[in-house]
Amino acid sequence: MTETLKIKNLHVAVGGKPILTGVTMTIRRGEVHALMGPNGSGKSTLAGVIMGHPNYEVTEGTIELNGKDILEWDATERARAGIFMAFQRPMAIPGVKMADFLRHATTNVRKPDRKEGEQLIPMREFRKELRDKMTQLRMDEEFARRYVNDGFSGGEMKRAEILQMAMLRPKFAILDETDSGLDVDAVKLASQSIAEIGGADMGILIITHHDRLLEHNTPDFTHVMLGGRIVETGGVDLARELYTEGYDKVRQRHPEDAAVEKEMAAEKKFVSGVA
């Protein structure tokens, strides 16, 4: 049976404010899904809630991994079950070396039942694998000795996220604007790397504004989000249309959702203005 990540009628609020208002999507292992939509439409919230961010409150609906409800699981459990998210803004952990962090993470994800303090994967084995993956991603070895995301450039951070994905080998990966802040060449490299790593093995959800990241990862499905809902789902052609023509046509086709989008944007402005 194909493994699936199934999101059904998902409603999510942050600080009491509804952000997602009924998202439904099924990702099978081996599929590439593109998620597009204007800023503030809820794409990053969806990514965060799939990963288990504690600040997002699910008010309705379910997320199921192979038929199991995972809403009660924390991020640790979801990661160990094979869900991964490449962060739009990865966090710096000063003083912790990439290699040490990755060794912990990799061990935990591969041995989900590992208790704290138990053996990590053997150093030699781990080093070899890390070195291989870094070569594959054309990363300098020095990278492993640097502190996690500390003083990284935008491009370095995104590549570090891809390296983590390569090491953790998730079943399902969500890439939250992995192309933002990268120049054309860097996006190309990222796109290639994702394809090499993911292959037919992962279910991938790519959140993006552009089509470059999709160049080597042709989406089987393209979803458009507007005002907290997925308003359209299509194939690769839809992604192209959105990239070349923007979201105006989508708004015209879905006037109600466009109105919600406007309302949410105004409210956000108001709230941040007060704060």
């Binding site: 990963m51 924390d74 640790t76 990661a79 966090m91 000063p94 912790v96 912990h104 704290e116």
Partner: protein, 473 residues
């Protein structure tokens, strides 16, 4: 040590009559009856027990007077000590008298988690007075002796190198310095005495447990280190295992002289049990182009007050102090550093990192003083505090006294909390919340841990992990 009593000189001792009243007898099975309290008679008894020369006994008695006349410090933490309710001296045999069963279970458990060997555990818990390291370190000691290095416990040094001890003891930290320095001067026992001759560079760190037949980590240790011109030494004190003691007051004094062109690094990692007041005075003087480094890690205790100091006496002298404090429930770490620039073109650097969790309180208290005439001196102070939960507290008390215009003095301080986003990021990589917090904390102290000798660095990290266990949620 068991034969001390039989070989004690019995005549001409003015307090002997008194002593005998307290079962201090010379019978074969006679034992010095330890008792609580502090007065001239007890100080004299301690001196007699150690068969000390008269000058040392006089030094002790003079110090006792100073102690009695000094007020308690009015800053730092709350010191709730009844000085008459403390044993000031216990013979090593009495330390031994305790059994393994007397050691609290949580201490034993930590030993197990740290993977400390059986023999060492008993030593650390004070069950055994001596750690049998003679075989291992015998050849090392011989090598040192050939170079003219003196490395012994301070009690032995008083007997065997009396002139040296007499010349320097109390010159860097006189009894008048503060109440606890006076107390230590009156009742001290144990500690290390090190002399490194001119130009001798000791390549491996000297560690307290190299000492054989020394009294175990005492309550009132007195350590002196003399590093002669162009010589180098790294001394490591303490260990990361929790130091359990039934006594609640520990008050050590460490005096160091680093002569011209010499280097001295003094590393301490201490992890006290929760009932301990750890009130320590540590000071070094550094002469021309000499370098003094203090690396000081403080965990545990009820209250620690400790501010390692470097006085830079001649041009080119440098002082560096790295300190880590970890305060958990019921603990107050009032730690910091002092640098005093007494000569031109002297340089100092202080890096302090503190972590407070589970209601613990850590304070940085530091002094940077530049005396008139110390032109071209530079001082850089960085203190970072990490607070792990809203119950915990961190304060910074920097004192800066600059009497000279042409100097550069910098002070930076930061306070941070472990961010929810950092935790989420690490958890999304399969780490548990506790693992994630402990990783953030080890990263925070990494700049200091990497200065430690390897085995201490490893233990330090394990210790932080233990401290962090069950700390979240």
């Amino acid at each position: 040590m068991a034969t001390d009593l039989q070989t004690m000189p019995l005549d001409g001792q003015d307090v002997l009559g008194e002593i005998q009243k307290y079962d201090f007898v010379t019978e074969t099975h006679g034992v010095f009856k330890a008792r609580k309290g502090l007065n001239e008679q007890i100080v004299c008894e301690i001196s007699e027990m150690k068969r000390e020369p008269r000058w040392m006994r006089d030094f002790r008695l003079k110090s006792l007077k100073v102690f009695e006349s000094k007020p308690m410090p009015r800053w730092g933490g709350n010191i709730g000590i009844d000085f008459q309710d403390i044993y000031y001296y216990l013979k090593p045999t009495e330390h031994q008298g305790k059994t393994w069963d007397d050691v609290p279970p949580e201490i034993k458990e930590t030993f197990d988690k740290l993977g400390i060997p059986e023999a060492e555990k008993k030593f650390l818990a004070g069950v055994k007075a001596q750690f049998e390291s003679e075989v291992v370190y015998g050849s090392l000691k011989e090598d040192l002796a050939q170079k003219g290095v003196i490395f012994t416990d301070t009690d032995t040094a008083v007997r065997e190198h009396g002139d040296l001890v007499r010349e320097y003891i109390g010159t860097i930290i006189p009894p008048e310095d503060n109440k606890f320095a006076a107390l230590n001067s009156a009742v001290w026992s144990g500690g290390s005495f090190i002399y490194v001759p001119k130009g001798v560079k000791i390549e491996f760190p000297l560690q307290a447990y190299f000492r054989i037949n020394a009294e175990r980590m005492g309550q009132f240790e007195r350590t002196m280190i003399l590093v002669d011109e162009g010589a180098e030494v790294h001394y490591v004190e303490g260990c990361t295992a929790p130091m359990y003691s039934s006594e609640s007051l520990h008050s050590a004094v460490v005096e160091i002289i680093v002569r011209r062109g010499a280097r001295c690094r003094y590393t301490t990692i201490q992890n006290w049990a929760n009932n301990i007041y750890n009130l320590v005075t540590k000071r070094a003087v550094a002469y021309g182009d000499a370098l003094m480094e203090w690396i000081d890690g403080n965990l545990g205790s009820r209250l620690t007050m400790k501010y390692p100091a470097v006085y830079m006496m001649e041009p080119g002298a440098r002082g560096e102090i790295l300190s880590i404090a970890f305060a958990s429930k019921g603990q107050h770490q009032d730690a910091g550093a002092k640098v005093v620039h007494c000569a031109p073109h002297t340089k100092s650097r202080i890096i302090s990192k503190s972590i407070s969790k589970n209601g613990g309180r850590s304070s940085y208290r530091g002094l940077c003083k530049v005396q008139d005439g110390a032109v071209g001196s530079k001082s850089n102070v960085v203190c970072d505090a990490l607070i792990l939960d809203p119950k915990s507290r961190s304060d910074t008390y920097p004192y800066i006294e600059v009497e000279e215009q042409d100097v550069q003095v910098e002070h930076e301080a930061s306070v941070s909390r472990i961010g929810e986003e950092q935790l989420f990021y690490l958890q999304s990589r399969g780490l548990t919340e506790a693992e994630a917090s402990s990783m953030i904390v080890s990263g925070f102290i990494e700049p200091l841990v990497k200065e430690l000798p390897m085995e201490y660095a490893v233990e330090m990290n394990r210790l932080i992990e233990l401290q962090m266990e069950g700390s979240v949620g």
